[in-house]
């Protein structure tokens, strides 16, 4: 599989953010074509647009846009894969029963509400 990743760098309230769009590309759309198209697609509030092709990561579902909701593919996300319980607080007094709350969940943030526009 191969993926085309477009990144749009924007400034929002003084904070620089990056919107990432990941697409699988096929033979009809070469990587070079995809990359070349990005600059023209950026909008007025885009500070910079860049693109790259990859065959490795992140691996989204075929044909899907996988934005940064739990799937940014950042190296930080890879640090705490399962089995690394060093971040978990365990209760050592219960003979292995233990418990505790991980502190390193991926989070989309707190749900605040909904709007229609």
């Amino acid at each position: 599989m191969a993926y085309f990743i477009a990144e749009f760098v924007k400034e929002l309230n003084g904070v620089e953010t990056v919107e990432t769009v990941v697409l699988q590309y096929t033979d009809a759309l070469s990587c070079a074509q995809a990359e070349a198209s990005v600059t023209g697609l950026s909008t007025a509030d885009t500070l910079a647009a860049r693109a790259r092709c990859t065959t490795s990561a992140p691996a989204p579902p075929s044909g899907q846009i996988v934005q940064d909701r739990n799937c940014s593919g950042s190296s930080a996300d890879q640090l705490n894969v399962i089995g690394d319980d060093s971040n978990y607080v365990r209760d050592s007094t219960t003979g292995g029963g233990g418990g505790g709350t991980p502190t390193n969940y991926d989070s989309d943030g707190d749900l605040v509400g909904y709007i229609k526009a």
Binding site: L41, A57, V81, G113
Partner: protein
């Protein structure tokens, strides 16, 4: 060029194009508020681009977010595309384990898919890598069978059956000490005991039971009362059944204590509540194989304390289950109804699964879990963690249709057992996770006996003819795991509600419904009308009450209904509209101060549906699917790839029990 055009249009849509009416989900993270549009209008899935400014003309909406991310059932048979789930693993403490592991997956790759518990049966690759001994304790699941548990180190018969019951407790302590590894803290050990659950004169002679005449004069020290008797005297006295119960409890309790000696968590290995939930299961206290209290006072113990071979054990009174640290919820689905017209002619699983009917699995799962929770509280005074265990296939002896072309490929010379529909594995996993919460020791396990020496790991998976079918049941489990990943932080520390006020069909008055009442299976075996069933978790946040709701009904795949559920402790309600048999899972936020409002949870997108499957299904192959969906029918793909689907029979054929 066509694809390039679609790409350009798609990106334009996502970076700012507006539609007439779009719903947005509002989230706040690290002090920054963001807005995300629905992926498809009306889908309640908010995967659109992240915006930082409030869209113009915004007004408050009282809706909910559907918890489902896209996954694609692999079109060809015997094909696994688990790369679609990435390599991020999971951060959950809720365990996921599967003995079914094709041998091309290493432990690390397995972990990257979200499996954070590894069974001994799915460890040790043939090339000597991925050894069980290398698995950290907190990822170990040992499911020990009688073959090893009752090993006779002297070379005699296994300590099962007759030998299990006639041995002294000190002898069994030696057996357990020799056979049960002393795992450390974090490891989870359990047993699979099938041959030694009962003891009866009628079993002689037989497997694990010698000729009766050869042993009837054997003298044993009784445990249910002081004194000794020969086996024949015991049988003739009428005291054998109670003696069996006490000896069984003593041995089972001792076994758990031995398994825990170095800090591991132990479970007996059977569900305290057996079978489907019955309407009296929350009022009764019967527990499987727990028919007499442990009692060591007649064999040298005192007040529940006894020293055996120099090791002192305490707490040998009451239910042997009290020594469990977690519970193995061993409850397999045995059979199903086939609702089509010609079972043997079904060509493949995508055709078969829509016609596989299992009665209200959502209520069955919730009800069964509640029956065990009640018994945990009876025994422990509190709930303990539970691992739900199931197989990929139905436990009964049904075999896949002949048209699958798999006859003779199973180890027993017949066809393979039919795999359960993907939506059932999904709802089992998700409900168990939601019911258990983010609790260490809780989890979901797929038992899969593929043959010795390592029963789970599939050496030469690619060359085994019996797997020449669609693997979607296994894939759906990983998809379900990923669906849960985005709400782990909301589950942690939340409050569970299993008895909810539900307005069935959104009509009439609210009534209390739980999994047991919704399943409506009477103690006398009669079945009443099923009702929809939901469970809920809530968690107070700065913005209000976070609500997670999951449930569904025993309705057809084409049926759509609405039920209203009251938010506990408030006058607000959530109306859930759902189609088919899949588990509906939504999250929403009740803003602080909200009174008497209705929140709408609805996510019906025909392009994401597939009968027999659960979650958000990608049925089309190829590129740019999501963009084409978002732009509507004008850009919808004309090319259809993927799995062949057949319309279910419209004829009213009687169900066939398989």
């Amino acid at each position: 060029m066509k694809n390039l055009l679609m790409f350009a249009l798609g990106l334009l849509f996502f970076v700012g194009q507006t539609q007439a009416q779009v719903n947005y989900e509002v989230r706040k993270k690290n002090g920054v508020t963001t807005y995300r549009a629905e992926t498809v209008a009306g889908s309640s899935v908010f995967d659109g681009p992240i915006l930082s400014t409030l869209p113009q003309g915004a007004a408050t909406a009282r809706i909910a977010s559907a918890v489902k991310k896209p996954w694609k059932p692999e079109p060809p048979k015997k094909t696994i595309d688990w790369a679609q789930f990435g390599t991020g693993g999971t951060k959950s403490v809720f365990k996921l384990s599967s003995d079914f592991r094709p041998d091309q997956y290493s432990h690390d790759q397995w972990r990257q898919l979200g499996f954070n518990l590894i069974s001994r049966w799915s460890s040790d690759k043939r090339d000597g890598t991925d050894k069980w001994s290398d698995v950290p304790n907190n990822q170990k699941l040992e499911y020990e069978v009688e073959g090893s548990l009752y090993t006779n180190t002297s070379g005699g018969p296994r300590w099962a059956g007759h030998y299990f019951y006639t041995a002294s407790l000190a002898q069994m302590e030696s057996v357990f000490m020799a056979s049960i590894p002393g795992y450390g803290q974090g490891a989870q050990w359990t047993a699979n005991i099938e041959e030694s659950n009962y003891w009866s004169r009628d079993y002689y002679p037989g497997v694990n039971y010698p000729n009766w005449d050869a042993v009837k004069g054997m003298n044993i020290q009784l445990e249910s009362e002081p004194g000794n008797m020969t086996l024949e005297q015991l049988v003739n006295s009428g005291k054998a059944p109670f003696e069996m119960r006490v000896r069984r409890s003593n041995r089972n309790g001792l076994m758990l204590l031995v398994a825990k000696r170095n800090g591991a968590m132990a479970a007996f290995g059977s569900s305290m509540w057996q079978g489907e939930p019955r309407t009296d299961c929350l009022q009764t206290s019967n527990r499987f194989l727990d028919e007499a209290d442990m009692n060591v006072s007649n064999i040298g113990g005192s007040n529940g304390t006894i020293t055996l071979n120099g090791h002192t054990y305490t707490g040998m009174t009451g239910s042997f289950y009290k020594h469990e640290d977690y519970h193995l919820d061993y409850h397999y689905y045995f059979d199903f109804d086939y609702t089509g017209s010609n079972y043997e002619a079904e060509p493949d699983y995508p055709s078969l699964w829509p016609k596989v009917y299992v009665m209200h699995p959502i209520a069955r799962e919730i009800g069964h879990w509640m029956a065990n929770r009640k018994r945990m509280i009876d025994v422990h005074g509190k709930q303990i963690p539970a691992i739900r265990m199931h197989e990929l296939f139905f436990e009964g002896n049904a075999r896949v249709p002949g048209a699958f072309g798999l006859n003779g490929t199973n180890e027993d010379g017949a066809g393979p057992k039919p795999w359960v529909p993907p939506y059932i594995i999904r709802l089992q996993y998700m409900l168990q996770h939601i019911l258990e919460g983010e609790t260490f020791g809780s989890g979901y396990h797929i038992f899969h006996a593929a043959g010795s020496p390592n029963q789970g790991i599939e050496y030469d998976f690619a060359s085994k003819p019996k797997y020449n079918h669609h693997m979607h049941t296994a894939t759906s489990l990983i998809a379900a795991r990923r669906d849960m990943e985005g709400i782990l932080d909301k589950i942690a520390g939340s409050t569970l509600y299993t008895d909810l006020q539900i307005k069935i069909g959104n009509q009439g008055s609210f009534q209390t419904v739980n999994g047991v009442s919704a399943y409506n299976f009477q103690p006398d075996g009669k079945r009443g009308d099923r009702t929809p069933c939901f469970v809920m978790r809530t968690k107070q946040t700065d913005a209000g009450l976070y609500v997670l709701i999951a449930g569904g009904h025993d309705q057809g795949w084409d049926d759509t209904r609405t039920d209203a559920i009251q938010i506990p402790g408030s006058t607000n309600e959530i109306q859930v509209t759902y189609k088919g048999r899949d588990l509906a899972v939504f999250e929403t936020l009740i803003p602080t101060g909200t009174i008497g409002q209705t929140f709408i949870a609805k996510s019906i997108v025909s392009d994401w549906e597939k009968k027999g499957y659960g979650g958000r299904i990608i049925t089309n192959g190829g590129d740019l699917l999501l963009i084409s969906l978002a732009l509507g029918t004008a850009l919808r793909r004309s090319r259809k790839l993927g799995i062949r689907q057949r319309k279910p029979s419209k004829t009213s054929t009687p169900k066939i029990r398989i």
